[in-house]
């Protein structure tokens, strides 16, 4: 465009020029910068996780005050679980991915930045509406028709928004890699998100269809509750619930390698195991009653444990070769792995119970199912907290205070582990024991989990506001590209970015220039 009529510089007063710059609020709302989007996702998810866990504690207390068993058909219970997944664990992992993955693959931007921002704001608004609808006796399975419709609709919007964010993340991994970084050389967290994203997109596509069907059929409150139970709730059960933990596998492997300052052996095998776990977490075919509790379902549930055990062996092997630099993030992610193993154990017990129901075993399948879901949900949440702590210098631009990080992770482990263990015991022993005793423990565990989320939020706020960028002396040195801006001078960063990637650990290669960079076989 040609400017034919120029204005003299004196025409524009300085104040008017200054007013054109966006305010802080405008910058937050209008940003397409992936780090800001990711951080908002993380902080929002931690706050809403606390709200959801608080609702779970309230539901248990309500059952306790009624003097009856824990009512798992209660709308507060179901809505709180949906909230912990869609408002807590998944957005936390997605926020980390939006923030970290472009940097891990050497890109300064995420693919489709405006879509990522749309994903964030759609999710946030929908989550707030969902929480409001729950307060109006709606949510999922509520008694109030209008509030239940609002709850279902906002749940569907959250699923669409999270799917959109997953599209941006997966596309970034596929198309924003630098020269030399083949898919076989992407960092494990990026790889795990590339595996998780299609599973999330397909699963949420299927559940959103049921939400749409519930809206179009003009069902009453009971009909909406049934639609949730039949068409949506399956994503909280095995094997689909495995999808929550896929990124935790990638986070674990990245943090262990970084903690040990050593390349992870058998890189391709690790990637294959993460991919295998992803395949076994695809469970849209189990949404009909005939799809569960058959031989294929048993095979999926049991075989899902194989890659987890395999990865545990490879992680142990890496830790055996070199003593790691212990940090809250590394300890936390290893504890998250323990919870993941707990989930696998509950799933295997459920599968065994299905195989020999009434003859060999007489477990309570529902209790084992809830135990598995809660173990995996807790693993995903603690994995996310650990990643936030470990990558705080990249995500929050400062080192996270170790005391707050340790407290948040410990509270998450106690709360999540206790919550899942209560149901595991219920599953193994039946529901006929001291019901009030169970309700008390569920309420306490959920309250501790809420406290963990609040501590996580405090960690994020304190770290991002209270510290300037610190030198890279604290903690283990980074091995992958996301650490370049934190640990290298601008000249070295430019040099690294121009260098053709020759292994999965470009920063390690850069530090030891001249050392062989062939991948470990």
């Amino acid at each position: 465009m040609t400017l034919t009529d120029t204005r003299s510089s004196s025409d524009t007063p300085p104040a008017a020029a200054g007013s054109l710059s966006p305010t802080a609020l405008e910058r937050v709302i209008g940003t397409g910068e992936h780090e800001a989007i990711g951080r908002t996702f993380i902080m929002g998810s931690l706050l809403l996780m606390a709200v959801s866990a608080g609702a779970l504690a309230t539901g248990a207390l309500r059952s306790l005050s009624n003097g009856g068993p824990l009512d798992v058909t209660d709308n507060l219970w179901n809505s709180a679980l949906v909230g912990m997944v869609l408002m807590g664990a998944i957005p936390l992992l997605l926020g980390l991915a939006i923030c970290l993955i472009p940097l891990q693959v050497g890109s300064k931007a995420i693919a489709f930045p405006r879509a990522a921002a749309l994903s964030l704001w759609t999710w946030l608004v929908s989550a707030v509406i969902f929480a409001i609808s729950l307060g109006l006796d709606g949510g999922v399975g509520g008694a109030d028709l209008e509030a239940s419709r609002l709850g279902m609709l906002s749940m569907g919007s959250m699923m669409v928004a999270l799917s959109l964010g997953a599209v941006c993340v997966a596309t970034t991994v596929l198309s924003h890699r630098p020269v030399g970084m083949s898919l076989a050389r992407v960092p494990f967290f990026s790889w795990s998100m590339l595996v998780a994203a299609p599973i999330w997109i397909l699963t949420f596509g299927s559940t959103t269809a049921h939400v749409f069907l519930g809206q179009i059929s003009q069902a009453n409150a009971a009909g909406l509750a049934l639609r949730y139970e039949v068409g949506v709730a399956w994503f909280l059960r095995a094997p689909t619930v495995y999808m929550l933990a896929i990124p935790v596998l990638g986070i674990s492997c990245d943090l262990v390698a970084q903690g040990c300052g050593r390349r992870m052996a058998r890189y391709g095998t690790v990637q294959a195991m993460i991919a295998m776990f992803g395949v076994f977490s695809f469970g849209a075919w189990t949404q009909t009653s005939g799809g569960r509790e058959n031989i294929l379902w048993i095979a999926f549930v049991v075989l899902g444990a194989v890659p987890v055990l395999g990865l545990l062996g490879l992680i142990a092997d890496t830790l055996r070769h070199r003593k790691p630099v212990v940090s809250p993030g590394l300890v936390g992610v290893l504890l998250a792995f323990l919870l993941l193993l707990g989930g696998m154990l509950a799933g295997i017990l459920e599968a065994l119970n299905t195989t020999g129901s009434g003859t060999l075993f007489s477990f309570e399948a529902a209790g084992l199912g809830w135990a598995q879901s809660l173990f995996l949900l807790s693993a995903a949440f603690i994995g996310g907290l650990s990643a936030l702590s470990a990558w705080s210098r990249v995500v929050l631009r400062a080192s996270a205070p170790g005391a707050i990080a340790s407290a948040a992770i410990a509270a998450g482990l106690i709360g999540g582990g206790l919550l899942a263990t209560v149901f595991l015991i219920q599953g193994l022993t039946g529901f006929g024991l001291n019901l009030s005793f169970y309700n008390v423990w569920v309420a306490v565990a959920a309250a501790v989990l809420a406290l963990s989320a609040l501590l996580g939020l405090m960690l994020a706020l304190v770290t991002s506001r209270g510290h300037a960028r610190q030198p890279a002396s604290a903690g283990a040195a980074g091995l992958t590209l996301e650490w370049a801006q934190d640990e290298l001078s601008p000249e070295d960063q430019a040099l690294v970015m121009r260098t053709i990637v020759a292994s999965p650990y470009p920063l390690l290669d850069f530090r030891f220039t001249g050392e062989a960079v062939e991948e470990d076989k």
């Binding site: 931007a109 930045p113 799917s163 599209v167 596929l174 924003h176 596509g205 299927s206 003009q218 009909t288």
Partner: protein
């Protein structure tokens, strides 16, 4: 490099000021192009999510129809002529869509515009045929079959309309010179979404209309 930066036109080098400058190696970066296949990958993921939603709806439709037995749509006339014509229309649009992709890959802009135009015309014809089918069938949303029937067919119709908007947008971008043989991703992405829509209609055509 940010998307904004990659989409900006390459900087024009200043003319050399001296003979030495004319032979000195330039420090300017080579012209950058938008990242290859980014839009195609994104579209594949979105199309997969939409396909999963529609397949779930079709599955629910089939399960409910099986449960209802002979009473399903007993009061309505669901003639096959219209769905067959719709399938034929979308089948032809696959050819014209591929024609557009083929043309843009060879910088044949005239044929690209022509192919996109014909594809959009066939898509609009499909929308028109769908509305006619709905009127002819006379299925009310209040009858038991209504919500599932319209969830499946209107859901797919929405996908076709989204495909038309996508195609229109890509046609404008092509007109603006953004796509060529060096960067044909926009047309390719629109084609991927369109093909997914046609494939899904083939499933609907067989499951909903042929099997009734």
């Amino acid at each position: 490099m940010s998307d904004t930066a990659t989409l900006s036109p390459p900087e024009v080098a200043s003319p050399p000021e001296s003979p030495q400058a004319a032979v000195a190696p330039t420090a300017a970066l080579p012209p950058t192009m938008p990242r290859r296949r980014e839009l195609i990958f994104g579209t594949v993921f979105v199309a997969a999510g939409v396909a999963m939603a529609l397949l779930t709806l079709i599955g629910s439709y089939l399960a409910t129809r099986d449960a209802a037995g002979a009473a399903w749509l007993a009061d309505n006339q669901l003639a096959l002529t219209q769905p067959n014509m719709q399938m034929l229309t979308l089948g032809m649009s696959v050819v014209t869509m591929q024609w557009a992709v083929w043309s843009i890959c060879r910088d044949d802009r005239y044929h690209t515009y022509l192919a996109i135009g014909v594809t959009m015309l066939l898509g609009i014809a499909f929308v028109n045929q769908s509305t006619f089918l709905f009127k002819e069938a006379g299925i009310a949303i209040t009858q038991p079959e209504g919500p599932l029937f319209y969830a499946v067919t209107l859901g797919h119709l929405a996908m076709v309309i989204a495909g038309l908007v996508f195609l229109l947008l890509m046609a404008f971008r092509t007109l603006g010179g953004q796509y060529s043989s060096r960067q044909p991703d926009g047309i390719g992405a629109a084609a991927v979404f369109w093909y997914a829509g046609v494939a899904l209609y083939a499933v609907i055509w067989f499951a909903v209309y042929i099997q009734k």
